[in-house]
């Protein structure tokens, strides 16, 4: 019945006895940029991790390309064209930039490695300058770029980003969002979890607002930007 690329139907997730998500339903269509905003502890990261099977959704279904992925182990999900850029970047600090990119090819094999690596260096010229440098020595912004590039090396159909603006200077954040737009231009579907509601909603086609594990609001990026409730809670009044 559904033609959505990713569909989440009424999932509940728990950390031990604490319920982190309540009947969360959302969908992302092919080629869209969708953002999920919410305050600290609303369950944004939990939702992304649940999509990747950790913690598992106890109730509900997660469908990707119409296939049920709710009960698949994490490493299998990554092989189906869904890539996650985890919160806090999580690059391999002891490996060089280039090696980090090569690690990204694990789900698909080395077949297109050379070609894709070249494409990443075009998308992120900074990474090419630093290709032989250990990733741990990069600046925060460069590390975030590397994390995004590494995720793209798996040729995913859809890329999930967890707070790519975390701890970065405003100028760098701006650059990251520009890059995301470029990536969307390449035909990738993007699901973006952000605290930086202003930037995220401006970029996104549609958005969801998560409050205490429940989806409170949804709508197009513009609608949500104009919504007084959202303005009050996430954009600092006015």
């Amino acid at each position: 019945m559904s033609e959505h690329l990713l569909e989440v139907r009424g999932i509940d997730a728990y950390y031990g006895p604490i319920q982190a998500l309540r009947e969360v339903s959302l969908h992302v269509d092919k080629g869209e940029i969708v953002t999920l905003i919410g305050a600290n502890g609303a369950g944004k990261t939990t939702l992304l991790n649940t999509l990747f099977g950790n913690p598992r959704a106890l109730v509900g279904h997660i469908l990707f390309r119409g296939e049920e992925i709710t009960r698949l182990p994490t490493y299998q999900i990554a092989k189906r064209g869904l890539a996650l850029v985890p919160e806090g970047r999580h690059i391999f600090p002891g490996m060089t930039v280039e090696e980090n990119l090569v690690m990204g090819t694990i789900p698909v094999g080395m077949e297109h490695a050379d070609e894709d690596r070249q494409a990443m260096f075009e998308l992120f010229p900074r990474l090419e300058e630093r290709r032989d440098q250990r990733a741990g020595t990069l600046s925060g912004g460069e590390q975030q770029m590397l994390a995004i590039a590494r995720a793209l090396m798996a040729r995913p159909e859809m890329i999930l980003l967890d707070e790519p603006s975390l701890g970065l200077a405003p100028l760098v954040v701006k650059r990251i969002f520009e890059v995301l737009r470029e990536i969307a231009g390449l035909g990738k579907t993007i699901f973006l979890v952000e605290q930086n509601a202003n930037h995220a909603l401006k970029l996104a086609d549609r958005g969801y607002v998560l409050v205490n594990g429940v989806i409170e609001l949804q709508g197009s990026g513009k609608e949500l930007l104009g919504n007084p409730q959202v303005r009050q809670a996430y954009l600092g009044g006015h």
Binding site: F52, N54, P73, T74, Y75, Q76, I77, A78, K79, A83, L84, V85, P86, H90, I91, F92, P93, G94, M95, T96, E98, E99, L101, V102, M103, G104, I106, P107, M110, A113, D114, R117, Q118, D132, R134, G136, T137, R150, A151, A154
Partner: protein, 422 residues
């Protein structure tokens, strides 16, 4: 930051002075007072000489530091000290074409030159090299702290001893089967510890090591308990290394018309061991460039990233444990053969700690470092036999000093670059 001003001598001179005094304090009592019969004779010239040499060396360094050449060296060292792992890009290996054949040649000729005592020490040293390489996979590459590694060593050794006793298997069968059995034990240990990290993992592995030892110690009927079990001498194409062969067999020395000597057995063990160690080094180097080796290092660096990249961390951890255990089992077979006898006291926690010390001192993840550390830690105590009582003390002090000044080990871990050239 290279200053092209002419070198100043004031600071180096002052430092040399301090060095002189320190050296006098250190060497004074050691070399200045000589025990002669019941009296102590002062030889004050000697500490003065030693201290002058040391101070002169310090002065030379101090001056050299200020020359452009010295500056360059310092800069290079500073770059190296940036911490972390260096990546070899291939051209560093040119040197290896000379060094590797040389090392092999020395390794092969040694048993024909060394006496029995040193041959035994060399075998032990190589056994520790093997153990170090095995633990290096688990601790150095995959980053899983294993304090019970000696368990796999015991499994290998006891497999040969008990296998010979109950199933009549020999050295060669054990050489093939013991690593497999040890790998199975590695998997058994691996499963429960998959979810654990750091301290918890260390405690569980520590317990595992002790369980194996206590079972070997207390299962009197099967293992012989503290009395141990004897291990038969190895054979080569059915030729035995004993003075008189068992029924039907021919001893090695008779077959070749040589005088009987118990050294042949040791030489044979040494040569086979050398081959196994060399193959293992080669295998490990290759493995690090393959996806499995990459996945181990990635797991050490960041488990969350690994999982989001679709690495099956269960398989990766298990494979690290099994590979490490396999190597440990292999070492056990050689140990049992060399000793001709095994009992549980050879496999106590101190052994685990020693192997871990080898890996840490050598540099976590550095194959060359682990080999050097294993040789140093096993051969040095033999050279310094007189100080045997202080051995453990010296180890402890060495560990403390290493952690302060060279926390990444003797040799900085170097890893073959695994991204193919564009």
């Amino acid at each position: 930051m290279s200053t092209h001003a002419s070198p100043t001598f004031i600071r180096p001179l002052r430092e040399a002075g301090v060095t002189f005094v320190l050296a006098l304090i250190v060497f004074g009592p050691i070399s200045g007072l000589v025990l002669d019969g019941y009296s102590i004779e002062p030889h004050l010239g000697r500490p003065l000489l030693i201290a002058s040499i040391v101070a002169a060396g310090r002065l030379l360094f101090g001056v050299l530091e200020q020359t452009p050449f010295g500056q360059k060296l310092l800069a290079r060292n500073a770059r190296k000290a940036s911490g972390g792992v260096t990546v070899a890009r291939g051209d560093e290996y040119k040197l290896l074409y000379f060094v590797v054949p040389l090392v092999i040649a020395i390794g092969v000729t040694l048993p024909f030159v060394a006496n029995k005592y040193w041959l035994g020490n060399l075998i032990l040293a190589l056994i520790y090299v093997l153990l170090g390489l095995g633990l290096n996979i688990v601790v150095g590459l995959a980053g899983l702290l294993d304090l019970g590694f000696v368990a796999f060593y015991a499994v290998g050794a006891y497999f040969l001893a008990l296998g010979a006793q109950y199933l009549d298997i020999g050295f060669w069968t054990a050489l093939v089967c013991a690593p497999m059995l040890a790998a199975c034990f590695g998997a058994v240990l691996g499963f429960p510890v998959l979810r654990m990290h750091g301290d918890y993992l260390a405690i569980v592995t520590l317990g595992f090591g002790e369980i194996i030892r206590l079972v070997l110690n207390n299962w009197l009927d099967f293992t012989g308990g503290p009395n141990g079990a004897s291990v038969p001498a190895p054979t080569i194409f059915g030729l035995e290394f004993s003075r008189i062969a068992k029924q039907g067999g021919t001893p090695f020395h008779e077959f070749f018309g040589l005088e009987y000597s118990s050294d042949y057995k040791l030489m044979f063990t040494y040569l086979v061991l050398l081959v196994v160690v060399l193959l293992m080094v080669r295998f490990l180097t290759k493995l690090r460039q393959m996806p499995m080796g990459r996945a181990w290092e990635a797991l050490r660096e960041d488990e969350i990233a690994c999982r989001s990249l679709g690495i099956n961390h269960v398989i990766v951890k298990l494979s690290a444990f099994m590979m490490g255990a396999m190597t440990g089992g292999l070492a056990g077979v050689f140990f049992a053969t060399y000793q001709g006898f095994v009992n549980p006291t050879s496999f106590n926690f101190f052994e685990s700690a020693l192997i871990l010390a080898i890996v840490v001192l050598g540099g976590l993840g550095s194959t060359l470092g682990v080999i050097i550390a294993a040789l140093v830690l096993t051969l040095l105590p033999e050279v310094l036999r007189e100080f045997a009582d202080y051995r453990v003390l010296a180890f402890g002090a060495l560990m403390v000093l290493m952690m302060i000044w060279r926390p990444r080990g003797l040799i900085r871990p170097k890893r073959p670059h695994f991204a193919p050239e564009v």
